[in-house]
Amino acid sequence: MTASTNRRPRTIYSNPSRAARPKPEASGRERFWWIFMRLSGLALVFLALGHMFIMHVLVVLTGDQIDFAFVQSRWGTPFWRIYDLLLLVLAFMHGVNGARIVISDYVAHRTARSLIIGVLLFISAAWLILGIAIIALFDPSAS
């Protein structure tokens, strides 16, 4: 191969982004998660970065602070409760599925892999229910 053809970048259609995994050929569960990661990722760019920007930049710049009263006023409005609920559920599903993919890349033994992923999903489900419960159960009128 000459230097000139070597320099021309190739278009890699099987895995263009060289991301964690190429798009699964067959439609089904793995294809669904491949698309889910990209769609939820796009939503999370706005939801998660927005959350970080409000909580850790705007709060500092406006001289406010995160305490009970702050959460009380935020979760007193349906908008921020739905925002936080959406952020929680999407971030959690996106993150846990990512962890599942990383685990299946490094654990070759089938039984061990199923076991570790099973434990991950069990703990994650319990944690997610706790998270949803916090947003749902919090009473802004209580002091």
Binding site: R18, L44, V45, F68, A69
Partner: protein, 129 residues
């Protein structure tokens, strides 16, 4: 494909920027997920009233915690920008020819964005802040 002078040395491993971008995406993603688990437990104290919750929040009001906060934000900014690159390239494969400029751009943009963001978060907790 990668020429030798473009390899960088990370903890003794010689890797290309492409490998570093891939590794960074995984590391930042797992880091943010770990914090998400902690964040849910910490936020659950809101259900026990103002005294308990406000006390929990004092754990974050020191320099080491603020450095962690900057690292969390850097991880999130990098994961977001690199994730956008992944989305663009996976859905429009012809953009593969811009793989290097886009990857370098993601790393550069994260570094540049973290300068003002880091200063805003850290300044009140620095000795001269």
């Amino acid at each position: 494909m990668e020429r030798s002078h473009e390899l960088i040395n990370l903890f003794g491993y010689r890797m290309s920027w492409a490998q570093l971008a891939w590794f960074g995406h995984r590391a930042s993603g797992l880091g943010v997920l770990l914090f998400l688990f902690l964040h849910i437990v910490e936020t659950s104290t809101i259900l026990f009233g103002p005294e308990v919750y406000d006390f929990t929040q004092t754990f974050y009001a020191n320099l080491p915690a603020k450095i962690g906060e900057v690292l969390l934000m850097a991880a999130l900014v990098y994961h977001s920008l690199n994730g956008l690159r992944v989305i663009v390239m996976d859905f429009w494969p012809s953009t593969t020819i811009y793989y290097r400029p886009l990857t370098y751009g993601v790393i550069a943009a994260t570094t540049i964005a973290m300068v003002p963001l880091g200063l805003i978060i850290l300044t009140p907790y620095l000795p001269w802040g």
